[in-house]
């Protein structure tokens, strides 16, 4: 019989994640050894690729930016007791929203300076797009009690088809064979980090990392304030824990559920800004690339806490970047191996997060009883 073990906070929040990570790495080492790859070399290269250079860091943070958005999108809904697996679709429609602004308003105001007007409009459009895509499942949930996991998953497919339809049809760049739009005008491109840092005289490698990173950090802070400091956040958490207690307190659970999903959708929609306005500078079909689903893992490992999500995003961004580097440099290494490692980390830090708790509790008891 395993019962919940009470551990001091520093152990639960500090030590256990490290133990879980170590366990995941250990199992992954075993897998690598079986496949015939040298684990130590793989991990060293992974680490170096992700964090060993300015460029590596830069890519890592670029990926992390996307994961912060999708992770927050899962966490906000989670605090309302909801499981939002629609981050993928919400991000796609968010991207569509910002692309539409880029290609319409941006084309009109194509000068460099107009970015001050165009970029905020794109941000708003991306958020609206994502929120819109979350709104339908949200309203179905509130009115009809439809199962959110089903509806949001289905909406991922609908979003994907919609995007494909638009990109082979009306939005397709004329004369191109690629399923993508024309390039965004200069006014619709998020300044890269290297450009910004250059102005301050810092020499930074040219990477996709862009100012959206700051938006992501601001979003994490805003979500933190919303959840822990605001009345609405308090009410949302109450709904998430007990909708009966919420009704007792005069809170209407459905309103809060819908609102949390709209916020979640808006956050996921911002992926479009990072990936499209920041890096690709055009709308293309597969720009989300599973980030919506990675967001679930990020939120899980970050314990649905904004700070945790930022840290988990950096971890996943690092894995992503390090894995890409490895696949490039180490013959016989496929990126699936990184996916394996991601899976193991999710397994150990999420699903089996408490496996080491009884052991730690036992050690703590031993130490405690020796003292007294």
């Amino acid at each position: 019989m395993s019962r919940p073990v009470e551990l001091p906070r520093w152990m639960e929040l500090g030590l256990m994640p490290l133990i879980n990570l170590a366990l995941a790495l250990a199992v992954c080492s075993a897998v690598l050894a079986v496949v015939g790859l040298p684990p130590q070399q793989v991990f060293t290269m992974l680490l170096k690729g992700a964090f060993g250079s300015a460029a590596g860091w830069s890519y890592t943070l670029f990926y992390a930016t996307t994961f912060v958005f999708t992770g927050l999108a899962v966490a906000v809904a989670f605090h309302g007791g909801l499981f939002n697996v629609g981050g993928e679709g919400q991000a796609m429609i968010g991207g569509l929203g910002c692309a539409l602004i880029a290609l319409s308003v941006g084309e009109q105001l194509a000068t460099d300076l107009a970015a001050i007007v165009v970029l905020p409009m794109m941000v708003v459009a991306a958020m609206l797009g994502g929120a819109l895509w979350a709104a339908v499942p949200a309203v179905l949930l509130a009115w009809r009690g439809s199962h959110l996991v089903i509806t949001t998953i289905m909406f991922n497919f609908v979003a994907s088809s919609l995007l494909a339809g638009l990109l082979v049809g009306p939005l397709k760049a004329p004369g191109s064979m690629m399923v993508e739009t024309v390039a965004f005008p200069l006014s619709a491109r998020m300044p890269g980090m290297h450009q910004m840092l250059q102005r301050f005289g810092v020499d930074w490698p040219r990477t996709p990392l862009n100012l959206t990173l700051l938006i992501a950090l601001a979003a994490a802070i805003a979500v933190g304030l919303y959840l822990t400091r605001s009345r609405l956040g308090y009410e949302l958490r109450t709904v998430g824990f007990s909708s009966d207690a919420a009704r007792y307190a005069g809170i209407q659970p459905d309103r809060h559920r819908v609102m949390s999903l709209l916020i979640a959708g808006a956050l996921a929609g911002l992926v479009g800004i990072n990936e499209l306005a920041g890096a690709q500078h055009r709308l293309l079909l597969d720009f989300v690339l599973g980030a919506g689903f990675t967001g679930i893992a990020v939120s899980l490992i970050g314990r649905n806490h904004p700070l945790g999500i930022v840290l988990a995003s950096i971890l996943f961004g690092g894995l992503y970047q390090g894995g890409a580097e490895l696949a490039f440099e180490l013959p016989g290494f496929s990126r699936d191996m990184v996916t394996t490692l991601q899976g193991l980390i999710v397994l150990f830090s999420g699903a089996m997060a408490m496996v080491s708790a009884p052991l730690l509790g036992w050690i703590l008891n031993r130490v405690g009883s020796r003292d007294g």
Binding site: M1, R3, E6, R229, S230, R231, L232, Y234, E235, R237, T238, F241, S242, D244, A245, R247, Y248, A249, G250, N365, G368, S369
Partner: protein, 524 residues
């Protein structure tokens, strides 16, 4: 002590959870074929001790002997194999499955389900005949009364060969008549040779039912002996470590009626299934009085509270509160109700009253989160104000441990209840005009009961009109100035406290007809 056969013998059991000594050198011996009471306040260590006996928790030190043989019980499987059965306070049954299938589950005698059913049904029929534990075996558990569910749990334990039966707070969820019935069955089981351990904090029941009693306080045995050699006062004193006064006040307060605080007229409510739960309820609630609503559970009292607090909306009828007429076209919602000074201590504490995973100070905010004192116009929570208000609640209502950041779920039932009462009594805007209280002391230990009664009386004396719903007649008699009796959703009688006798109330409660409690939970 009893050199006769001890069915259960615990020797020097100690168990620590971190810094807390849940059990300290507990020695307990239960004579075979007797009913043994284990009493103590919440948090005294009763449940831990029984969890150790049932193998859910391992003791740090000490030994257990079953029928004279020292055993190691590492899990509940071992405990069951040794003939120990446990009926938990919250039943472990699956509502959608039939009573029979619930007994079957996990102990199928045959690999074919139909065959298993037949075997177990046969065994159960014999057992029911022997013990008188009547249960409709073919019905889904969800349709059974609480009493029947409990009987089913006992049957389940007996069928698995339990010769020692542990009952955790068995009467907490029962109506008085169901409790009476339970006692009859337990005595029958004792006559069959079953040893019964009852965890409870209702001392009257211990006196009526048990052969011997052990009192725990702060993890230690403070009293142990046959029931014939102790008195109720003695037990109460042992339990809380000081004298307690719970009886009806000697001098009944002459009711000084103020003005009408809440006028209820012809209030009716049908549940979504179309059953009339509350019909034509009319009464006035005056400032400075406690009105008790007595009745067998499930006769509309819960719904009445839910209606008045704004959680349910009536189909017809009206309420006059603070100069406004509220009717089905425009009904009170919980937020408005609170703002106007209508506070509510809900019947089901865990479900409505607190949010268990939240820290204490956030649970202390529940319902008042929109008050300007605790939230700014822009919707930010005023943490400092909310925390200091919560601190005052914890201190004034003696909530222990008084740590604002502790998870609400770690509080004992009594302390959670004190927190809820404190929150409602110390409402941020003003002293409540009307206080609705449901089952204020259900599952609450004696020490806390005393404080809760005291505070309710103090609120009444301060001019608050209190409406009290309770299934404990003693409680109503101890508190209420006036008693309304409900039956089948109708108020069937009204008595002043001095005219109340248990007999008179009982006649009213049951006289018209009595109904089992189905659907109250479904209605909310």
């Amino acid at each position: 002590m009893h050199q006769a056969v001890s069915a259960v013998q615990l020797r020097s059991i100690s168990k620590r959870f971190g810094a807390i000594h849940a059990n300290r050198e507990v020695t307990l011996s239960v004579t075979a074929g007797s009913i043994h009471g284990l009493v103590g306040e919440n948090g005294a260590g009763k449940s831990t001790l029984m969890a150790i006996l049932y193998g859910l928790v391992q003791a740090d030190r000490g030994t257990i002997a079953i029928h004279g043989k020292t055993v190691a019980i590492n899990n509940s499987r071992t405990a069951i194999a040794l003939g120990i059965g446990m009926v938990h306070q919250h039943f472990l049954l699956i509502d959608s499955m039939s009573a029979l299938d619930n007994v079957l589950l996990g102990a199928e005698p045959h690999w074919r389900l139909q065959r298993s059913r037949a075997i177990v049904l046969e065994q159960l029929k014999v057992l029911i005949q022997q013990t008188g534990l009547e249960v409709d075996l073919m019905r889904p558990v969800g349709e059974l009364t609480v009493g029947a569910r409990q009987r089913l749990e006992i049957l389940k334990a007996l069928l698995r060969g339990a010769s020692v039966l542990i009952l955790d707070e068995p009467t907490a969820v029962l109506t008085p008549s169901e409790a009476e019935q339970l006692f009859v069955t337990l005595r029958q089981l004792r006559a069959r040779g079953t040893t019964i351990l009852v965890i409870t904090h209702k001392l009257k029941e211990v006196m009526a039912l048990c052969d011997a009693v052990t009192v725990l306080r702060a993890g230690q045995v403070v009293f142990d002996g046959p029931i014939a050699q102790c008195s109720l006062d003695q037990l109460a004193q042992a339990m809380v470590g000081r004298r307690v006064q719970l009886q009806r006040p000697d001098v009944l307060r002459t009711t000084r009626k103020g003005s009408v605080s809440l006028a209820v007229r012809d209030l009716s409510w049908r549940d979504p299934q179309g059953t009339q739960r509350v019909s034509g309820v009319t009464f006035d609630l005056y400032a400075g009085e406690i009105v008790g609503i007595a009745g067998v559970a499930g006769n509309g009292q819960s719904e009445l509270l839910a209606l008045l607090s704004g959680m349910l909306k009536p189909q017809s009828g009206q309420v006059d509160f603070r100069g406004t007429i509220w009717n089905s076209a425009r009904w009170l919602d919980p937020t408005t109700a609170r703002r106007l000074g209508l506070a509510h201590v809900p019947e089901d504490r865990h479900r409505f009253g607190v949010v268990l995973p939240l820290p204490l100070w956030e649970s202390a905010l529940l319902g008042y989160q929109r008050s300007r004192r605790f939230a700014t116009a822009w919707g930010w929570v005023r943490r400092r104000a909310a925390r200091s208000a919560a601190q005052v609640m914890l201190e004034r209502y003696d909530v222990r441990p008084a740590q604002l950041d502790l998870q609400t779920s770690t509080l004992s039932g009594g302390n959670q209840q004190k927190l809820i009462l404190a929150r409602e009594a110390l409402a941020p805007e003003h002293v409540p005009e009307v206080l609705l209280v449901g089952q204020p002391t259900r599952g609450v230990d004696i020490g806390a009961i005393e404080l809760i009664y005291d505070r309710l009386r103090a609120m009444r004396d301060g001019g608050t009109a209190v409406l009290l719903v309770s299934s404990e007649l003693d409680e109503i008699l101890a508190l209420a100035d006036r008693v309304l009796v409900m039956n089948q959703g109708v108020i069937v009688g009204e008595l002043a406290n001095e005219d109340c006798s248990e007999a008179a109330l009982g006649r009213l409660m049951a006289g018209v007809s009595s109904r089992t409690q189905v659907g109250v939970e479904a209605a909310l």
